[in-house]
């Protein structure tokens, strides 16, 4: 049945009616936040101590922690003359689906190497991995989409570490799309611990190779800085319930930094305080800054969050190169600024539906050749697969 547009239209009108009030509320919160941000803009030590105090009563605190730069800092990158290279990686996956005739999993990892300013054709790399029986059929049951995502994140770093070893160009930037920290639920599972260990090993290899590692998050919805500023309004007895009492829910960091930063500028660097970021310690501790790339489309605001490990965060020269390189990469796509190398890595990695179908047929063919009995797909899926378009007898 088609969507009942008449019914939905009434609900859309209700949302529209409430939208103005909601936006007014957000604007009001944003103005208050800006005042608090200005008030504490140069009180980094105070904020660091405040975070430590709250942590003593609540180790689940998740917020940004300022380093040395002012909260309201706006920094342009200095031009870079030295040649550098960028290695970007992305992954795509096929999740085992119990409704299919044969549940199978694939992780496709793509990487793209470009050397800006050197007039050399970029290179593409691809690794396609069909998951084994042991990986698909786990002790906990069929491998979940969440765990396939975890594996994908790991393989992205693994290919970066592997290719970095083969590349002599320095400096070398190693980029991925998404957060640097391996944020997944079920932190205590064996699967998570195994992949976290591999993830840490890959990052350490990149550090050893002196790579500038970064995760690029487009249109971030995080509120790490907002949560930091909310701490200044809490009473001591409220520390244990931090996160439950919100003063500025709905306001994201983006609303603050979108107005603050001009094109090409980055914000101050912050450390991420969270339970999951505890998994990456010392030199690997995740940090971030907000970044407004050059944008030829004046009608839209584009802001990204760039996550970097501690060893990059404390190196101003590497941070500058990263910011400069990201800006140059985003410029390539004109009115839709996004790092060109990351987009190409995505293009290399992406798995299309027809490819999934082709792989399924090949696996089924192999099993049939081995006289392995094959189940039918679920009747639910079989009926979904029925042709939806209509045919006519005569022209």
């Amino acid at each position: 049945m088609p969507v009942n547009y008449l019914e939905i239209t009434q609900q859309i009108k209700k949302i529209g009616g409430k939208a103005a009030d909601y936006n007014r509320d957000l604007d009001d919160k944003k103005e208050k936040l800006k005042i608090i941000m200005e008030q504490y803009s140069c009180q980094n030590e105070f904020l660091q101590n405040l975070v430590n105090q709250v942590l003593q009563t609540n180790n689940k605190l998740r917020c940004a922690v300022p380093l040395e730069e002012s909260l309201t800092a706006r920094l342009q990158a200095a031009d870079v003359d030295e040649p550098y290279a960028i290695l970007a990686a992305d992954g795509s996956q096929i999740n085992p689906n119990r409704h299919d005739r044969i549940p199978f999993g694939v992780i496709n990892t793509g990487a793209f190497l470009i050397k800006p300013g050197q007039n050399i054709a970029p290179r593409e790399f691809i690794r396609s991995r069909l998951l084994s029986y042991e990986e698909v059929y786990t002790d906990e049951g069929l491998l979940s989409e969440r765990n396939v995502g975890l594996m994908r994140d790991y393989y992205e770093r693994e290919i970066l570490a592997e290719l970095a070893q083969l590349n002599d160009q320095k400096p070398l930037l190693a980029l991925t799309d998404g957060p640097l920290e391996l944020y997944h639920e079920q932190l205590e599972t064996r699967t998570y611990r195994e992949y976290l260990a591999g993830f840490v090993k890959a990052l350490s290899a990149l550090q050893k190779k002196e790579c500038i590692v970064a995760g690029y998050i487009d249109k971030p919805y995080s509120d790490l800085v907002v949560r930091l500023l909310e701490l200044t309004l809490l009473k001591k007895e409220e520390y244990a319930n931090v996160g439950k009492k919100r003063f500025f829910s709905g306001v994201t960091d983006r609303t603050l930094f979108d107005e603050l930063l001009y094109t090409g500028e980055r914000s101050a660097i912050f450390r991420i305080q969270s339970a999951s970021s505890e998994q990456l310690k010392a030199d690997l501790t995740p940090h971030f800054f907000y970044f407004k790339p050059q944008n030829s489309n004046q009608t839209i605001n584009v802001l990204a969050r760039v996550e970097i490990p501690a060893w990059i965060a404390r190196n101003p020269r590497q941070v500058n190169l990263l910011q400069y390189a990201l800006n140059e990469q985003c410029k390539q796509l004109g009115s839709k600024p996004y790092p060109y190398s990351l987009h190409r890595a995505h293009e290399i990695a992406v798995v299309h539906l027809h490819e999934k179908n082709e792989l399924e047929n090949r696996i089924l063919s192999e099993l049939q050749n081995k006289n392995i009995p094959i189940e039918n797909g679920s009747q639910k899926q079989e009926n979904k697969n029925l042709q939806v378009s209509r045919t006519r007898y005569s022209k």
Binding site: I114, K115, P116, G117, Q118, N119, I120, A121, P122, R123, E124, S296, E328, K331, Q332, L333, G334, S335, K336, Y340, H343, R344, E347
Partner: protein
């Protein structure tokens, strides 16, 4: 005799085919150029064709890149060499050869996907186009939706040069006379073709 590969077959039919080639190979094929496709080299069976269209497609990313103020040379190289948007060359079949014997009839069997396509040497052009009759002209004249005047002019220019090298300076005149005869009842097309030929540097002696 060295063969210059210009690409591989994407799709084919009875009357023609489409060839895909990398942007780095684009220097080789030209409009009106004669090409050959070995279909069964063991039996000396190959198809001959004339290039009548060269297409360079875009996609969403290329359309986005062209709107940018600055596109780096590396990004241009990436799109020309790496991304799967080949140059597509449309070829009209004009004949074939079987065990060394040339015929201006269409190839009985079209080539297969991924078959290699080569430019014809001057000797091959002379051999094919120097047959007693210009039978292969009919394939061009019957084809629809191709720039007939331009393709014929480009082909005659290339073939005239080949025949001059092979010692037949009178070939262009014979070819032009045949075209006039074939198009005597189609004034508009004839004028179009003659106009295009007039723009070439062929000497019709």
């Amino acid at each position: 005799m060295s063969m210059i590969e210009i690409g591989r077959l994407l799709r084919a039919g009875t009357k023609g085919c489409v060839v895909g080639c990398k942007i780095t190979q684009i220097d080789v094929p030209a409009l009106g150029g004669m090409v050959k496709i070995p279909i069964d080299p063991n039996k000396g069976y190959q198809a001959y064709g004339l290039i009548h269209e060269i297409n360079i497609d875009d996609d969403g990313l290329v359309r986005q890149l062209v709107t940018s103020d600055t596109v780096s040379p590396e990004v241009i190289l990436d799109n020309r060499l790496n991304r799967n948007v080949p140059v597509e060359i449309s070829v009209l079949f004009v004949g074939h050869s079987d065990q060394g014997k040339i015929s201006h009839l269409l190839p009985p069997r079209p080539p297969l996907t991924m078959d290699m396509i080569y430019t014809c040497s001057q000797e091959e052009i002379c051999e094919f186009s120097g047959q007693k009759r210009f039978g292969y002209f009919r394939h061009l004249l019957q084809a629809k939706d191709l720039p007939l005047g331009e393709v014929l002019a480009a082909h005659l220019q290339q073939a005239a040069l080949a025949h001059q090298t092979c010692g037949d300076k009178g070939w262009p005149k014979k070819a032009a006379q045949e075209l006039i005869t074939l198009l005597r009842d189609d004034y508009n097309t004839l004028m179009n073709v003659l106009s295009a030929l007039a723009d070439t540097n062929i000497e019709f002696k």
